[in-house]
Point group: C2
Chain length 159, copies 2
Amino acid sequence: MGRCVIFTHSLALSLAYLTDGEEGTALVSPLTASEAMDPDAVAKAFVEHYYRTFDSNRQALGGLYQDGSMLTFEGDKIQGAAAIVAKLTSLPFQQCAHAISTVDCQPSGPPGGVLVFVSGSLQLGGEQHSLKFSQMFHLIPTPQGSFYVLNDIFRLNYA
Amino acid sequence: MGRCVIFTHSLALSLAYLTDGEEGTALVSPLTASEAMDPDAVAKAFVEHYYRTFDSNRQALGGLYQDGSMLTFEGDKIQGAAAIVAKLTSLPFQQCAHAISTVDCQPSGPPGGVLVFVSGSLQLGGEQHSLKFSQMFHLIPTPQGSFYVLNDIFRLNYA
């Protein structure tokens, strides 16, 4: 199976490598952000984790943000993990499914920091048509060897 | 007329305030990035300057980038001002006009750094239909009191 990157998180996003040992055995070891994780791997794993969590349990996204984190959602500016989660969980739909079209990333900010730029579409429960969106994140490494979202900007792309 | 923000640039993007004095007289004084320019004003002025320059003289965009600058253009990764300008000037169209729909921004990175997130459409010369796009920039202040583009990610939003 080779290896793959998974995300878990408590207060912040933690990165761990899952390496298959024998059949059915997984060796999980935490990675510090300063170790050689290339931005593409961080971005890919983050995007998979973020939208899977968004679509299954929005409340749990709070662990990805800190007090200084910022979300701009369709022009609405929100700061801090608690306010961001309140915004995300108050969006007027219950079910949604994101489909990702493109993920671009570049290093920026402190060593290990990654800018992630996403485009895709969003299918809301009960709606016939999907909505196209673009979103960007600035992921910042923490001293504990995890990442958090400092910046998050979301826009629907109206046709 | 009040005051408005203009951009000029040589090697890097310089910020200056233009204050109308008497009719036909303009007082231009440079601003250091550490002075109180709010991110929204920086983003708005940058976006106006960037796309006006792109649409009139792409070669001149080189002054906005430095050697460490990165451009990801439709997934193609380019680094350094010279390579970025070579990419932008080699795009297979002569005339284009950007129309901006939304500009979002947040502070990030070093003090004075600004993330800018843009959506809009792009009309190419000779083409009947416009193309929708999203683009993000990370603007970094320089010791000289100007800004440069450290990160630039561009994507067309296909319908």
